[in-house]
């Protein structure tokens, strides 16, 4: 089902979605765009290339409260935080970011114990994917083509959106998406020409150029396993790294977290908070032992986790080539170059 709306009316669409539930959409903030819970439909702004932070926070918030309790009260008075999620619309996620949700699903839902918070948030959400603007060149950091992701790849979205001149075309990808599109009375029916434009756009998206190399998951996994003990290699690629957490926090597929208790005046919350394998104390044990004291060990862990361990454990590379880690790295470390180097090494 294809629908359309004029981009100038985007705030009306936003308002319609807000009537149905919670809307998360790109908003222009001081330093760039980010997905934000929309309070005022006028905030929604589709004039962006990609957001600073990935939209993973929609399902994996930086801070997720688990339990509320009072320190002075009996243990059974503690209460589990109920999510009670309204329908949530993630509006305008780029194809590479949408891909990341599937990768995270494997970890949080499809293997071992199910993470109930991720699952509930995922189930409550309707994803409006949004194709990159094929008229404009990719940014130098991006390399999603390498991971086989197109600039207009609808996979993973419930509804996929493409810009056509002053219009926004919305095509349903899943039944869930179709249902929503039907309900949104504000939308106009897409015409045959729109349908054609849409289909061609999707096709053209596959050709869209980002940085690209031939990367076979098995090959890179093997390569990285072989390289593991090559301290010189890891020292060299990590020599600039300052062990901050930017790359992991902006990354759509990084899921490490910490569980902590915070209390204030006897009222406590147990919650999870994002953590980063790049932090020096990430693996610090209570005994004082830390298996990853060196910068190179931590960067090695991150690269391996994405391109080797994840492949071994779950069968897919845990990277979507969005380029955020490179773009926001204070010292310009480029994961793409490291993978390139690794393949050559």
């Amino acid at each position: 089902m294809l629908k359309k709306i004029s981009i100038s009316k985007i705030s009306e669409l936003a308002a319609a979605l807000m009537d149905k539930g919670l809307l998360l959409a790109p908003v222009k903030e001081i330093s760039g765009h980010n997905f934000v819970e929309i309070k005022d439909p006028k905030q929604v702004d589709l004039d962006f290339h990609n957001t600073i932070a990935s939209p993973k926070a929609a399902f994996f918030p930086h801070k997720e409260d688990f339990i509320k309790y009072e320190t002075g009260k009996p243990i059974d008075t503690a209460s589990v935080v109920a999510l009670n999620l309204p329908p949530t619309f993630l509006f305008g996620a780029r194809p590479c970011d949408v891909k990341s949700f599937g990768i995270m699903d494997i970890h949080f839902i499809a293997s071992g114990i199910v993470d109930p918070f991720w699952k509930q948030r995922r189930e409550a959400a309707v994803i409006f994917g949004y194709a990159f603007d094929l008229e404009k060149p990719a940014q130098p950091e991006e390399f999603y083509q390498t991971l086989g992701i197109g600039a207009a790849d609808p996979e993973g979205s419930d509804i996929f959106m493409v810009k056509k001149g002053g219009d926004l075309l919305l095509n349903s990808v899943t039944p869930k998406g179709e249902k929503i599109l039907t309900e949104l009375k504000i939308l106009n029916e897409g015409k045959a020409a729109d349908k054609k434009y849409y289909d061609e756009y999707i096709k053209k998206g596959k050709e869209y150029k980002t940085r690209s190399m031939c990367l076979e998951p098995g090959a890179i996994t093997k390569k990285l396993e072989d390289l593991f003990q090559n301290t010189d290699f890891w020292n060299r690629v990590s020599s600039a790294c300052i062990s901050c957490g930017v790359c992991t926090f902006v990354c759509p597929t990084c899921y490490c977290f910490d569980i902590c208790d915070d209390t204030l005046f006897g009222h406590g919350t147990r919650r999870r908070v994002w953590d980063a394998c790049m932090f020096t104390d990430f693996t610090l044990e209570a005994s004082g032992h830390n298996p990853r004291t060196h910068v190179y060990q931590r960067l090695r862990q991150k690269i391996n986790h994405k391109y080797s361990y994840h492949v071994r454990k779950y069968g897919v590379i845990s990277c979507v080539g969005c380029g955020r880690c490179t773009k926001y790295c204070p010292v310009n470390i480029d994961i793409y170059s490291i993978i390139e180097d690794a393949m050559k090494a």
């Binding site: 600073i52 930017v246 953590d275 204070p330």
Partner: protein, 287 residues
């Protein structure tokens, strides 16, 4: 404009000479990144590495941050712009590095640019200096005749705000913080391991990126860097959400300079002002 090419050539020449002669084990400077606009901090350890050295207007990184990765006694050559040189002085004062271990390759530079915005950043950082405060070898000509800007000029706008406005400004800035800690990691003076904010005993603030923890982290960090911040602006440059931390650090630096008559990282023999006192310090500073 600074002749970046000349400096790059001199950097390569000196690096090669020092490494060849075995005078240093490593040259801390800048290397090629994934494109021209994105050079990287680079540790050249071999003659072959020298070819990868670059210098251009985007080489903002404060190389002094990397000094502490090497044990005392390692001979290190370090490329030092004005701010880097001040950081080195401050680190020597704090006994984190030893002057005798260093060969300082001074770089006079103006026209340094922010890679994200392409804006010229000289006047906002480096404490208004173009020439390194201390060096052993100068890789370009000293810069004279440029307009001397007060490093504190940019503060005027914020100082003029009334307190409500200023609070609103900082609150909105701090609320953006995602606690990635790039600021402290990019800072040559933030060598604490563990940082107080990572401590569990005591837990100074919660780990979640929400207002109280963010405030506690940043306000305390401003205090920790009081009289030590050498105004390189790396904290702000590193910040993925562009919090202008440098403004706050600058303000604290200005106050310290006014109260204690000493700017950070200017003289090897100084003592950091907050671990020092003078009997004649005035009680006025508390008003």
């Amino acid at each position: 404009m600074t002749d970046f090419r000349q400096i790059e050539n001199n950097l390569k020449k000196e690096a090669k000479r020092l490494l060849e002669a075995g005078e240093v084990a490593v040259v801390l400077a800048y290397g090629r990144g994934y494109d021209e606009k994105h050079p990287m901090p680079f540790a050249a350890k071999t003659i072959a590495d020298v070819e990868s050295l670059v210098f251009n207007e985007y080489c903002n990184f404060n190389m002094a941050s990397y000094l502490m990765r090497y044990p005392w006694g390692t001979k290190i050559a370090i490329a030092a712009k004005a701010a880097d040189s001040r950081a080195i002085i401050q680190l020597v004062q704090e006994e984190k590095v030893r002057r005798e271990d260093l060969v300082i390759l001074g770089i006079p530079a103006y026209g340094m640019k922010n890679q994200k915005t392409n804006e010229v950043v000289d006047s906002k950082t480096t404490g208004g200096l173009y020439n390194p405060v201390i060096y052993d070898i100068l890789l370009g000509e000293e810069i004279h005749g440029q307009k001397i800007v007060s490093p504190y000029e940019v503060l005027a706008e914020y100082e003029a705000m009334d307190k409500e406005e200023r609070w609103a400004f900082w609150k909105s800035q701090m609320d953006k913080c995602i606690r990635c800690y790039a600021c402290r990691k990019a800072c040559p003076m933030c060598y604490c391991d563990p940082c107080f904010i990572d401590q569990n005993k005591p837990r100074w603030a919660d780990k979640a990126p929400q207002s109280p923890g963010n405030m506690m982290y940043h306000l305390t960090r401003f205090h920790h860097l009081a009289g030590r911040c050498i105004d390189c602006g790396e904290c702000s440059r590193a910040c993925p959400v562009d919090i202008p931390l440098y403004l706050f650090h600058k303000k604290v630096a200005k106050e310290c300079e006014e109260m204690f008559g000493q700017a950070a990282g200017m003289k090897l023999e100084d003592k950091p002002v907050l671990v020092d006192f003078r009997v004649e310090d005035s009680d006025k500073i508390l008003e």
